[in-house]
């Protein structure tokens, strides 16, 4: 990580099964500006191996919109990892 990297704060939301695994519905974390959603997920996956197991069935969102895992994050973003949806 270069010296020019800025650190930003993002909000992270967990739902359904993921909320039960992580033990919280909401988190606030610091990460380098522009880090992809994938990198943020990896941090949670490292501390919660069961979470990493669900990765293939998850989709990510950034600011209430589905987002590619490669989407860079910036200050104030709201990120969520969404299990398969089962509304209706």
């Amino acid at each position: 990580m270069g010296v020019s990297s800025q650190t930003v704060r993002v909000k992270v939301l967990f739902f359904g099964r993921l909320k039960e695994i992580v033990g919280q519905a909401e988190d606030s974390v610091e990460l380098r500006d522009g880090a992809p959603i994938e990198e943020l997920f990896s941090q949670y996956g490292a501390s919660h191996p069961e979470l990493a197991r669900f990765r293939p069935s998850l989709v990510a969102s950034r600011n209430q919109e589905f987002a590619a895992w490669s989407t860079p994050l910036h200050s104030g973003d709201e990120v969520a990892f969404l299990p398969p949806v089962s509304g209706g």
Binding site: S4, P36, F66, S70, P84, V85, G87, G88
Partner: protein, 158 residues
């Protein structure tokens, strides 16, 4: 008899869904057809007796996705109005979890739009259902929403 355009009625609710209010909202004198879909809590799932359900949502995003569905069906089908309500929290057997009402001059548009709306809602709206049985509870198997394509260019090395 000009009228101001009346917006669609789109809601996430915690109290029982009032079908009559939703139908009245979409049903006007220019309409020849109203099609409704009433999704109810079944007393069984995968051969097991269901006791009750809990629904939870990413509420801000879910409402936004429901708004997008309403926009899409107005674009795709010649309908008049749509009402969509999804309930959250604990639901008992027989209660309505989702209700959709679509009005149009002619029936094909109302049928097509109502079906498109519930099919799309089930694939794309971030809502999750936990099913409670006599011997435990499980998060329902769901559908993986269509995700944007990964673009590696969006991940600059720093």
């Amino acid at each position: 008899m000009n009228k101001l355009p009346q917006p669609d009625l789109l809601a996430l609710v915690r109290d029982p869904i009032d079908h009559v209010t939703l139908i009245k909202h979409v049903r006007e004198e220019e309409d020849g057809a109203i099609v409704t879909f009433d999704g109810c809590v079944r007393n069984h799932s995968h051969g097991r007796r269901t006791l009750y359900l809990d629904y939870e949502a990413y509420e801000s995003m879910a409402l936004e996705k429901i708004r997008e569905i309403a926009e899409q069906i107005h674009e795709k089908f010649p309908i008049h109005m749509v009402a969509i309500a999804h309930r959250l929290g604990r639901l008992q057997i027989g209660e309505t979890s989702v209700f959709i009402a679509v009005s149009s001059a002619h029936r094909p548009a109302a049928f097509d739009a109502c079906r498109y709306a519930i099919d799309t809602l089930k694939r794309t709206v971030p809502i999750w259902k936990k099913e409670y049985f006599e011997d435990g509870a499980v998060w329902a198997d769901g559908e993986i929403p269509p995700a944007p394509l990964e673009t590696r260019a969006a991940n600059p090395a720093s």
